[in-house]
Protein backbone atom coordinates (compact mmCIF):
# COMPACT_ATOMS: atom_id res chain seq x y z
CA UNK A 1 0.00 0.00 0.00
CA UNK A 2 2.94 2.30 0.62
CA UNK A 3 3.39 2.16 -3.13
CA UNK A 4 0.14 4.07 -3.58
CA UNK A 5 0.67 6.72 -0.93
CA UNK A 6 2.50 9.70 -2.31
CA UNK A 7 5.35 10.88 -0.15
CA UNK A 8 5.03 14.62 0.61
CA UNK A 9 8.77 15.13 0.65
CA UNK A 10 9.09 13.69 -2.83
CA UNK A 11 6.18 15.83 -4.06
CA UNK A 12 7.96 18.88 -2.71
CA UNK A 13 11.24 18.07 -4.42
CA UNK A 14 9.46 17.04 -7.58
CA UNK A 15 7.64 20.37 -7.74
CA UNK A 16 10.79 22.35 -7.07
CA UNK A 17 13.02 20.42 -9.44
CA UNK A 18 10.50 20.05 -12.23
CA UNK A 19 9.44 23.68 -12.19
CA UNK A 20 13.09 24.73 -12.16
CA UNK A 21 13.79 22.44 -15.09
CA UNK A 22 10.79 23.83 -16.97
CA UNK A 23 11.91 27.37 -16.26
CA UNK A 24 15.56 26.85 -17.14
CA UNK A 25 14.89 24.81 -20.25
CA UNK A 26 12.19 27.20 -21.44
CA UNK A 27 14.53 30.13 -21.11
CA UNK A 28 17.85 28.68 -22.17
CA UNK A 29 16.98 25.72 -24.34
CA UNK A 30 13.53 25.68 -25.87
CA UNK A 31 13.47 29.35 -26.77
CA UNK A 32 16.65 29.31 -28.89
CA UNK A 33 15.90 25.83 -30.23
CA UNK A 34 12.37 26.70 -31.33
CA UNK A 35 13.55 30.00 -32.69
CA UNK A 36 16.34 28.26 -34.61
CA UNK A 37 13.93 25.73 -36.02
CA UNK A 38 11.46 28.40 -37.02
CA UNK A 39 14.16 30.56 -38.58
CA UNK A 40 15.38 27.63 -40.58
CA UNK A 41 11.87 26.76 -41.68
CA UNK A 42 11.25 30.33 -42.73
CA UNK A 43 14.54 30.33 -44.59
CA UNK A 44 13.66 27.16 -46.44
CA UNK A 45 10.18 28.43 -47.19
CA UNK A 46 11.66 31.71 -48.36
CA UNK A 47 14.11 29.91 -50.61
CA UNK A 48 11.31 27.78 -52.04
CA UNK A 49 9.14 30.83 -52.61
CA UNK A 50 12.04 32.60 -54.26
CA UNK A 51 12.64 29.64 -56.54
CA UNK A 52 8.96 29.56 -57.44
CA UNK A 53 8.95 33.27 -58.11
CA UNK A 54 12.15 33.02 -60.14
CA UNK A 55 10.64 30.25 -62.19
CA UNK A 56 7.54 32.31 -62.86
CA UNK A 57 9.77 35.22 -63.78
CA UNK A 58 11.76 33.01 -66.09
CA UNK A 59 8.58 31.88 -67.82
CA UNK A 60 7.44 35.49 -68.07
CA UNK A 61 10.83 36.51 -69.37
CA UNK A 62 10.82 33.75 -71.91
CA UNK A 63 7.43 34.73 -73.26
CA UNK A 64 8.54 38.36 -73.24
CA UNK A 65 11.62 37.41 -75.18
CA UNK A 66 9.59 35.52 -77.68
CA UNK A 67 7.28 38.45 -78.10
CA UNK A 68 10.24 40.74 -78.50
CA UNK A 69 11.81 38.46 -81.06
CA UNK A 70 8.56 38.26 -82.98
CA UNK A 71 8.23 42.02 -82.86
CA UNK A 72 11.81 42.47 -83.95
CA UNK A 73 11.28 40.07 -86.79
CA UNK A 74 8.19 41.92 -87.86
CA UNK A 75 10.02 45.23 -87.72
CA UNK A 76 12.92 43.80 -89.66
CA UNK A 77 10.63 42.44 -92.32
CA UNK A 78 8.91 45.73 -92.58
CA UNK A 79 12.18 47.60 -92.79
CA UNK A 80 13.42 45.23 -95.43
CA UNK A 81 10.21 45.59 -97.41
CA UNK A 82 10.35 49.33 -97.13
CA UNK A 83 13.97 49.38 -98.13
CA UNK A 84 13.24 47.20 -101.09
CA UNK A 85 10.36 49.40 -102.11
CA UNK A 86 12.49 52.45 -101.74
CA UNK A 87 15.25 50.90 -103.75
CA UNK A 88 12.81 49.85 -106.44
CA UNK A 89 11.33 53.27 -106.51
CA UNK A 90 14.72 54.89 -106.68
CA UNK A 91 15.79 52.59 -109.44
CA UNK A 92 12.61 53.27 -111.37
CA UNK A 93 12.98 56.97 -110.82
CA UNK A 94 16.60 56.93 -111.87
CA UNK A 95 15.71 54.92 -114.89
CA UNK A 96 13.07 57.46 -115.87
CA UNK A 97 15.37 60.30 -115.15
CA UNK A 98 18.15 58.68 -117.12
CA UNK A 99 15.83 58.07 -120.02
CA UNK A 100 14.67 61.66 -119.94
CA UNK A 101 18.22 62.86 -119.65
CA UNK A 102 19.35 60.62 -122.42
CA UNK A 103 16.52 61.87 -124.58
CA UNK A 104 17.45 65.37 -123.69
CA UNK A 105 21.06 64.69 -124.54
CA UNK A 106 20.09 63.04 -127.77
CA UNK A 107 17.89 65.99 -128.59
CA UNK A 108 20.58 68.50 -127.80
CA UNK A 109 23.08 66.44 -129.76
CA UNK A 110 20.67 66.39 -132.63
CA UNK A 111 20.25 70.13 -132.34
CA UNK A 112 23.98 70.57 -132.21
CA UNK A 113 24.44 68.31 -135.20
CA UNK A 114 21.78 70.19 -137.09
CA UNK A 115 23.39 73.47 -136.21
CA UNK A 116 26.79 72.17 -137.21
CA UNK A 117 25.33 70.82 -140.38
CA UNK A 118 23.69 74.11 -141.14
CA UNK A 119 26.91 75.88 -140.31
CA UNK A 120 28.88 73.49 -142.44
CA UNK A 121 26.43 73.85 -145.33
CA UNK A 122 26.61 77.58 -145.14
CA UNK A 123 30.39 77.33 -144.92
CA UNK A 124 30.47 75.06 -147.95
CA UNK A 125 28.21 77.45 -149.78
CA UNK A 126 30.54 80.18 -148.95
CA UNK A 127 33.51 78.09 -150.08
CA UNK A 128 31.66 77.11 -153.18
CA UNK A 129 30.94 80.69 -153.89
CA UNK A 130 34.56 81.59 -153.29
CA UNK A 131 35.65 78.66 -155.40
CA UNK A 132 33.19 79.62 -158.10
CA UNK A 133 34.51 83.11 -158.01
CA UNK A 134 38.09 81.82 -158.23
CA UNK A 135 37.14 79.51 -161.04
CA UNK A 136 35.37 82.30 -162.72
CA UNK A 137 38.39 84.45 -162.24
CA UNK A 138 40.68 81.74 -163.66
CA UNK A 139 38.31 81.21 -166.53
CA UNK A 140 38.24 84.80 -167.21
CA UNK A 141 42.01 84.73 -167.07
CA UNK A 142 42.22 81.88 -169.58
CA UNK A 143 39.72 83.41 -172.00
CA UNK A 144 42.10 86.00 -172.54
CA UNK A 145 44.71 83.55 -173.83
CA UNK A 146 43.17 80.69 -175.65
CA UNK A 147 39.73 79.74 -176.73
CA UNK A 148 40.34 76.05 -176.86
CA UNK A 149 41.95 75.93 -173.53
CA UNK A 150 39.12 77.94 -172.26
CA UNK A 151 36.61 75.38 -173.22
CA UNK A 152 38.75 72.54 -171.86
CA UNK A 153 39.01 74.34 -168.61
CA UNK A 154 35.34 74.94 -168.40
CA UNK A 155 34.74 71.24 -168.92
CA UNK A 156 37.23 70.39 -166.26
CA UNK A 157 35.71 72.88 -163.89
CA UNK A 158 32.27 71.72 -164.61
CA UNK A 159 33.24 68.10 -163.92
CA UNK A 160 35.00 69.05 -160.73
CA UNK A 161 32.12 71.28 -159.72
CA UNK A 162 29.87 68.31 -159.82
CA UNK A 163 31.73 66.96 -156.85
CA UNK A 164 30.22 69.56 -154.60
Amino acid sequence: MSLLTPNPGLIFWMLVVFLLVVFILAKFAWKPIIKGLKDRENEIQGALDLAERTRAEMVQLKSDNEKLIAEANAVRDQILREAKDAADRTIAESKDKAAVEAQKMIDSARDAIRNEQALAVSKIRKEVAVLSLEIAEKVLHRELKDKEAQEQLIAELASSARLN
Binding site: M1, S2, L3, L4, T5, P6, N7, P8, G9, L10, I11, F12, W13, M14, L15, V17, F18, L19, L20, V21, V22, I24, L25, A26, F28, A29, W30, K31, P32, I33, I34, K35, G36, L37, D39, R40, E43
Partner: protein, 364 residues
Protein backbone atom coordinates in the same frame (compact mmCIF):
# COMPACT_ATOMS: atom_id res chain seq x y z
CA UNK B 1 17.83 -25.55 -4.05
CA UNK B 2 21.02 -27.55 -4.01
CA UNK B 3 22.34 -25.85 -0.89
CA UNK B 4 19.09 -26.63 0.86
CA UNK B 5 19.56 -30.30 0.04
CA UNK B 6 23.14 -30.19 1.23
CA UNK B 7 22.11 -28.63 4.48
CA UNK B 8 19.42 -31.21 4.87
CA UNK B 9 21.93 -34.01 4.37
CA UNK B 10 24.35 -32.53 6.85
CA UNK B 11 21.65 -32.42 9.47
CA UNK B 12 20.77 -36.01 8.71
CA UNK B 13 24.42 -37.00 8.90
CA UNK B 14 25.03 -35.20 12.15
CA UNK B 15 21.88 -36.66 13.62
CA UNK B 16 22.84 -40.14 12.48
CA UNK B 17 26.37 -40.02 13.92
CA UNK B 18 25.08 -38.72 17.21
CA UNK B 19 22.46 -41.40 17.23
CA UNK B 20 25.00 -44.14 16.48
CA UNK B 21 27.47 -42.82 19.00
CA UNK B 22 25.12 -42.68 21.92
CA UNK B 23 24.71 -46.40 22.54
CA UNK B 24 28.50 -47.08 22.53
CA UNK B 25 29.05 -44.29 24.94
CA UNK B 26 26.22 -45.46 27.09
CA UNK B 27 28.36 -48.47 28.11
CA UNK B 28 30.68 -46.38 30.24
CA UNK B 29 28.09 -43.90 31.10
CA UNK B 30 27.72 -41.07 33.27
CA UNK B 31 24.23 -39.71 33.02
CA UNK B 32 25.73 -36.28 32.91
CA UNK B 33 27.68 -36.84 29.71
CA UNK B 34 24.70 -38.24 27.90
CA UNK B 35 22.74 -35.20 28.77
CA UNK B 36 25.54 -33.03 27.45
CA UNK B 37 25.53 -34.84 24.15
CA UNK B 38 21.81 -34.57 23.64
CA UNK B 39 22.04 -30.95 24.56
CA UNK B 40 24.74 -30.33 21.98
CA UNK B 41 22.69 -32.18 19.41
CA UNK B 42 19.72 -30.04 20.19
CA UNK B 43 21.83 -26.98 19.95
CA UNK B 44 23.22 -28.00 16.59
CA UNK B 45 19.83 -28.85 15.26
CA UNK B 46 18.54 -25.57 16.43
CA UNK B 47 21.39 -23.81 14.76
CA UNK B 48 20.83 -25.63 11.51
CA UNK B 49 17.16 -24.90 11.58
CA UNK B 50 17.94 -21.29 12.20
CA UNK B 51 20.32 -21.30 9.24
CA UNK B 52 17.67 -22.86 7.08
CA UNK B 53 15.15 -20.29 8.09
CA UNK B 54 17.60 -17.54 7.45
CA UNK B 55 18.48 -18.82 3.99
CA UNK B 56 14.79 -19.08 3.24
CA UNK B 57 14.45 -15.54 4.37
CA UNK B 58 17.48 -14.45 2.40
CA UNK B 59 15.52 -14.55 -0.79
CA UNK B 60 12.00 -13.31 -0.53
CA UNK B 61 11.04 -12.22 -4.04
CA UNK B 62 8.17 -10.00 -2.94
CA UNK B 63 10.39 -8.13 -0.56
CA UNK B 64 13.11 -7.86 -3.16
CA UNK B 65 10.74 -6.38 -5.70
CA UNK B 66 9.21 -3.93 -3.28
CA UNK B 67 12.64 -2.92 -2.13
CA UNK B 68 13.64 -2.12 -5.70
CA UNK B 69 10.50 -0.27 -6.58
CA UNK B 70 10.17 1.76 -3.44
CA UNK B 71 12.08 4.86 -2.51
CA UNK B 72 15.03 4.67 -0.14
CA UNK B 73 17.16 6.97 1.95
CA UNK B 74 20.32 5.59 0.42
CA UNK B 75 21.31 4.66 -3.09
CA UNK B 76 22.13 0.99 -3.14
CA UNK B 77 23.75 -0.23 -6.33
CA UNK B 78 24.34 -3.72 -5.06
CA UNK B 79 24.98 -5.36 -1.72
CA UNK B 80 27.63 -3.31 -0.02
CA UNK B 81 27.89 -0.62 -2.69
CA UNK B 82 25.79 2.05 -1.12
CA UNK B 83 25.84 5.81 -1.38
CA UNK B 84 24.34 7.35 1.74
CA UNK B 85 22.07 10.29 0.93
CA UNK B 86 21.32 13.32 3.05
CA UNK B 87 18.34 13.14 5.35
CA UNK B 88 16.53 16.43 5.75
CA UNK B 89 13.90 16.55 8.42
CA UNK B 90 11.72 19.38 9.56
CA UNK B 91 9.93 19.38 12.85
CA UNK B 92 8.30 22.23 14.69
CA UNK B 93 10.41 21.78 17.79
CA UNK B 94 13.83 21.06 16.28
CA UNK B 95 13.62 22.98 13.04
CA UNK B 96 15.53 21.68 10.05
CA UNK B 97 17.90 18.81 10.65
CA UNK B 98 20.31 17.52 8.05
CA UNK B 99 22.42 14.40 8.50
CA UNK B 100 23.65 11.48 6.46
CA UNK B 101 21.51 8.40 6.17
CA UNK B 102 24.66 6.40 6.94
CA UNK B 103 23.98 7.29 10.57
CA UNK B 104 21.16 4.77 10.56
CA UNK B 105 23.63 1.94 9.97
CA UNK B 106 23.48 0.55 13.47
CA UNK B 107 21.73 -2.31 15.11
CA UNK B 108 18.50 -0.53 15.82
CA UNK B 109 18.50 1.75 12.78
CA UNK B 110 18.29 4.62 15.16
CA UNK B 111 19.94 8.00 15.22
CA UNK B 112 19.33 11.23 17.05
CA UNK B 113 15.88 10.22 18.20
CA UNK B 114 14.76 8.99 14.79
CA UNK B 115 14.07 5.51 13.72
CA UNK B 116 14.42 4.24 10.16
CA UNK B 117 11.61 1.76 9.60
CA UNK B 118 12.04 -0.76 6.82
CA UNK B 119 8.63 -1.78 5.69
CA UNK B 120 7.31 -1.93 2.16
CA UNK B 121 9.21 1.28 1.87
CA UNK B 122 11.52 3.08 4.21
CA UNK B 123 10.19 5.62 6.57
CA UNK B 124 11.79 7.81 9.17
CA UNK B 125 9.72 8.02 12.34
CA UNK B 126 10.58 9.84 15.53
CA UNK B 127 11.21 7.63 18.53
CA UNK B 128 9.06 9.98 20.55
CA UNK B 129 5.73 9.25 18.90
CA UNK B 130 4.11 12.52 19.92
CA UNK B 131 6.40 14.49 17.62
CA UNK B 132 5.42 15.26 14.07
CA UNK B 133 8.15 15.40 11.44
CA UNK B 134 8.24 16.26 7.78
CA UNK B 135 10.70 14.29 5.72
CA UNK B 136 12.29 16.35 2.93
CA UNK B 137 15.21 13.99 2.52
CA UNK B 138 17.15 13.72 -0.68
CA UNK B 139 16.03 10.17 -1.22
CA UNK B 140 17.14 7.89 -4.03
CA UNK B 141 14.27 9.18 -6.15
CA UNK B 142 15.10 12.81 -5.46
CA UNK B 143 18.76 12.18 -6.23
CA UNK B 144 17.82 10.47 -9.46
CA UNK B 145 15.49 13.34 -10.31
CA UNK B 146 18.28 15.85 -9.71
CA UNK B 147 20.57 13.80 -11.90
CA UNK B 148 18.00 13.73 -14.67
CA UNK B 149 17.44 17.47 -14.29
CA UNK B 150 21.15 18.10 -14.66
CA UNK B 151 21.33 15.83 -17.71
CA UNK B 152 18.31 17.53 -19.29
CA UNK B 153 19.68 21.00 -18.72
CA UNK B 154 23.17 20.13 -19.96
CA UNK B 155 21.90 18.32 -23.03
CA UNK B 156 19.37 20.88 -24.15
CA UNK B 157 21.33 24.01 -23.39
CA UNK B 158 24.22 22.54 -25.39
CA UNK B 159 21.82 21.78 -28.23
CA UNK B 160 20.50 25.32 -28.00
CA UNK B 161 24.13 26.41 -28.39
CA UNK B 162 24.31 24.53 -31.68
CA UNK B 163 21.31 26.44 -32.93
CA UNK B 164 22.85 29.74 -31.93
CA UNK B 165 26.30 29.02 -33.32
CA UNK B 166 25.40 27.14 -36.47
CA UNK B 167 22.71 29.49 -37.60
CA UNK B 168 21.67 28.91 -41.18
CA UNK B 169 23.52 25.61 -41.35
CA UNK B 170 22.20 22.09 -41.55
CA UNK B 171 21.89 20.35 -38.16
CA UNK B 172 24.44 17.67 -37.40
CA UNK B 173 25.29 15.00 -34.89
CA UNK B 174 23.43 14.96 -31.61
CA UNK B 175 21.54 18.09 -32.55
CA UNK B 176 19.81 16.39 -35.45
CA UNK B 177 19.05 13.34 -33.32
CA UNK B 178 17.23 15.47 -30.77
CA UNK B 179 15.73 17.68 -33.42
CA UNK B 180 13.78 14.75 -34.80
CA UNK B 181 12.16 14.20 -31.42
CA UNK B 182 11.58 17.89 -30.77
CA UNK B 183 10.00 18.31 -34.18
CA UNK B 184 7.88 15.21 -33.63
CA UNK B 185 6.57 16.59 -30.35
CA UNK B 186 5.99 20.01 -31.83
CA UNK B 187 4.44 19.06 -35.15
CA UNK B 188 2.66 15.80 -34.40
CA UNK B 189 1.76 16.09 -30.74
CA UNK B 190 1.44 19.70 -29.66
CA UNK B 191 0.47 21.58 -32.82
CA UNK B 192 -2.51 19.46 -33.89
CA UNK B 193 -3.86 19.00 -30.37
CA UNK B 194 -3.34 22.36 -28.74
CA UNK B 195 -4.26 24.43 -31.76
CA UNK B 196 -3.03 27.74 -33.09
CA UNK B 197 -1.84 29.06 -29.72
CA UNK B 198 0.43 26.09 -29.20
CA UNK B 199 3.66 28.03 -28.81
CA UNK B 200 2.82 29.21 -25.33
CA UNK B 201 2.57 25.62 -24.06
CA UNK B 202 5.41 24.16 -26.10
CA UNK B 203 8.15 24.68 -23.47
CA UNK B 204 6.10 23.00 -20.77
CA UNK B 205 5.07 20.08 -22.95
CA UNK B 206 8.58 19.55 -24.35
CA UNK B 207 10.03 19.56 -20.85
CA UNK B 208 7.31 17.19 -19.72
CA UNK B 209 8.09 14.77 -22.51
CA UNK B 210 11.84 14.78 -22.07
CA UNK B 211 11.63 14.71 -18.28
CA UNK B 212 9.41 11.63 -18.33
CA UNK B 213 11.43 10.02 -21.10
CA UNK B 214 14.80 10.46 -19.45
CA UNK B 215 13.52 9.27 -16.10
CA UNK B 216 11.81 6.28 -17.68
CA UNK B 217 15.06 5.34 -19.34
CA UNK B 218 17.22 6.07 -16.31
CA UNK B 219 14.85 3.89 -14.31
CA UNK B 220 15.67 0.95 -16.54
CA UNK B 221 19.35 1.09 -15.67
CA UNK B 222 20.42 -1.40 -13.04
CA UNK B 223 20.61 0.09 -9.59
CA UNK B 224 18.66 3.18 -10.53
CA UNK B 225 15.57 4.71 -9.01
CA UNK B 226 12.06 4.02 -10.18
CA UNK B 227 11.16 7.69 -10.36
CA UNK B 228 8.37 7.76 -12.93
CA UNK B 229 6.93 4.67 -11.28
CA UNK B 230 6.47 6.63 -8.11
CA UNK B 231 2.99 7.90 -7.51
CA UNK B 232 4.17 11.15 -5.92
CA UNK B 233 6.06 12.04 -9.09
CA UNK B 234 3.28 11.15 -11.50
CA UNK B 235 0.81 12.92 -9.26
CA UNK B 236 2.88 16.09 -9.33
CA UNK B 237 3.13 15.95 -13.10
CA UNK B 238 -0.60 15.29 -13.47
CA UNK B 239 -1.48 18.10 -11.08
CA UNK B 240 0.80 20.48 -12.98
CA UNK B 241 -0.97 19.61 -16.19
CA UNK B 242 -4.29 20.07 -14.42
CA UNK B 243 -3.19 23.52 -13.24
CA UNK B 244 -1.91 24.51 -16.67
CA UNK B 245 -5.19 23.39 -18.22
CA UNK B 246 -7.40 25.21 -15.74
CA UNK B 247 -5.37 28.41 -15.59
CA UNK B 248 -5.63 28.79 -19.34
CA UNK B 249 -9.09 27.39 -19.93
CA UNK B 250 -11.47 29.84 -21.55
CA UNK B 251 -14.98 30.76 -20.46
CA UNK B 252 -16.50 28.28 -22.82
CA UNK B 253 -14.75 25.44 -21.05
CA UNK B 254 -16.07 26.43 -17.65
CA UNK B 255 -19.51 27.17 -19.00
CA UNK B 256 -19.56 23.78 -20.59
CA UNK B 257 -18.95 22.17 -17.21
CA UNK B 258 -22.03 23.59 -15.56
CA UNK B 259 -24.22 23.89 -18.61
CA UNK B 260 -23.43 21.33 -21.25
CA UNK B 261 -25.04 22.37 -24.51
CA UNK B 262 -27.67 20.19 -26.08
CA UNK B 263 -28.52 18.36 -22.87
CA UNK B 264 -32.14 18.40 -21.73
CA UNK B 265 -32.67 20.00 -18.34
CA UNK B 266 -33.53 16.86 -16.36
CA UNK B 267 -30.37 15.18 -17.56
CA UNK B 268 -28.28 18.03 -16.21
CA UNK B 269 -28.68 16.48 -12.78
CA UNK B 270 -26.58 13.59 -14.01
CA UNK B 271 -24.45 15.40 -16.56
CA UNK B 272 -23.03 18.08 -14.31
CA UNK B 273 -21.57 15.65 -11.77
CA UNK B 274 -20.28 13.53 -14.64
CA UNK B 275 -18.59 16.55 -16.20
CA UNK B 276 -17.05 17.58 -12.92
CA UNK B 277 -15.82 14.09 -12.15
CA UNK B 278 -14.40 14.02 -15.66
CA UNK B 279 -12.33 17.11 -14.91
CA UNK B 280 -10.59 15.32 -12.06
CA UNK B 281 -10.55 12.00 -13.81
CA UNK B 282 -8.27 13.31 -16.51
CA UNK B 283 -5.27 14.09 -14.28
CA UNK B 284 -6.04 11.02 -12.22
CA UNK B 285 -5.81 8.83 -15.28
CA UNK B 286 -2.58 10.57 -16.27
CA UNK B 287 -1.15 9.88 -12.84
CA UNK B 288 -2.19 6.24 -12.69
CA UNK B 289 -1.25 5.43 -16.27
CA UNK B 290 2.35 6.49 -15.99
CA UNK B 291 2.75 5.13 -12.46
CA UNK B 292 1.19 1.77 -13.25
CA UNK B 293 2.98 1.29 -16.53
CA UNK B 294 6.41 1.99 -15.16
CA UNK B 295 5.89 0.10 -11.92
CA UNK B 296 4.40 -2.88 -13.72
CA UNK B 297 7.34 -2.97 -16.09
CA UNK B 298 9.77 -2.94 -13.19
CA UNK B 299 7.82 -5.63 -11.35
CA UNK B 300 7.83 -7.90 -14.39
CA UNK B 301 11.54 -7.45 -14.96
CA UNK B 302 12.36 -7.96 -11.29
CA UNK B 303 10.13 -11.03 -11.12
CA UNK B 304 12.01 -12.54 -14.03
CA UNK B 305 15.35 -11.85 -12.41
CA UNK B 306 13.92 -13.18 -9.15
CA UNK B 307 13.06 -16.44 -10.88
CA UNK B 308 16.77 -16.97 -11.52
CA UNK B 309 17.44 -16.81 -7.80
CA UNK B 310 14.48 -19.02 -6.94
CA UNK B 311 15.40 -21.80 -9.34
CA UNK B 312 19.17 -21.39 -9.01
CA UNK B 313 19.57 -23.56 -12.04
CA UNK B 314 22.17 -23.11 -14.72
CA UNK B 315 19.68 -24.32 -17.32
CA UNK B 316 16.89 -21.95 -16.51
CA UNK B 317 18.98 -18.84 -15.92
CA UNK B 318 19.95 -18.22 -19.59
CA UNK B 319 16.36 -18.75 -20.71
CA UNK B 320 15.10 -16.26 -18.19
CA UNK B 321 17.89 -13.86 -19.08
CA UNK B 322 16.83 -13.97 -22.72
CA UNK B 323 13.28 -13.33 -21.71
CA UNK B 324 14.36 -10.47 -19.49
CA UNK B 325 16.38 -9.04 -22.37
CA UNK B 326 13.31 -9.14 -24.57
CA UNK B 327 11.24 -7.47 -21.88
CA UNK B 328 13.91 -4.87 -21.41
CA UNK B 329 13.51 -3.88 -25.06
CA UNK B 330 9.79 -3.69 -24.55
CA UNK B 331 10.38 -1.52 -21.50
CA UNK B 332 12.53 0.85 -23.56
CA UNK B 333 9.64 1.08 -25.98
CA UNK B 334 7.22 1.63 -23.10
CA UNK B 335 9.50 4.37 -21.80
CA UNK B 336 9.02 6.27 -25.07
CA UNK B 337 5.36 5.43 -25.42
CA UNK B 338 4.45 6.53 -21.90
CA UNK B 339 6.34 9.80 -22.24
CA UNK B 340 4.61 10.32 -25.57
CA UNK B 341 1.16 9.47 -24.21
CA UNK B 342 1.52 11.72 -21.20
CA UNK B 343 2.52 14.60 -23.45
CA UNK B 344 -0.16 13.80 -26.00
CA UNK B 345 -2.94 13.67 -23.43
CA UNK B 346 -1.69 16.82 -21.72
CA UNK B 347 -1.76 18.59 -25.09
CA UNK B 348 -5.26 17.31 -25.76
CA UNK B 349 -6.51 18.49 -22.38
CA UNK B 350 -4.95 21.90 -22.90
CA UNK B 351 -6.28 22.04 -26.45
CA UNK B 352 -9.81 21.19 -25.42
CA UNK B 353 -9.75 23.80 -22.66
CA UNK B 354 -8.51 26.69 -24.80
CA UNK B 355 -10.37 25.79 -27.97
CA UNK B 356 -12.28 28.67 -29.50
CA UNK B 357 -15.86 27.81 -30.37
CA UNK B 358 -16.88 30.15 -33.07
CA UNK B 359 -19.58 27.84 -34.34
CA UNK B 360 -21.89 25.23 -32.85
CA UNK B 361 -20.47 22.80 -30.34
CA UNK B 362 -19.55 19.36 -31.62
CA UNK B 363 -19.81 17.71 -28.25
CA UNK B 364 -16.72 15.86 -27.15
Amino acid sequence: MRTHLRQFFTIALVAATCFLNTPSKADEPTQHEAEKVTESINEKEHKIEHNLEESEKKFNIGEMIMHHIADSHEWEFTHGVVIPLPVILYSADRGIEVFSSANFHNEHHEYNGYHLVHGDSEQIVPVDESRKIYDFSITKNVASMLLSAVILILVFTSIAGFYKNNKGKAPKGFQSAMEVIILFIRDDVVKPNVGPKYEKYLPYLLTLFFFILINNILGLLPGSANLTGNIAVTMTLAVLTFIVVHLNANGHYYKHLVKPTGVPAPLLLIMIPVEIVGVFMKPFSLMVRLFANMTAGHIILLSLFGLIFIFQSIVIAPVISLFALFLNFIEIMVAFIQAFIFTLLSSMYIGSAIEEHSHADHGH
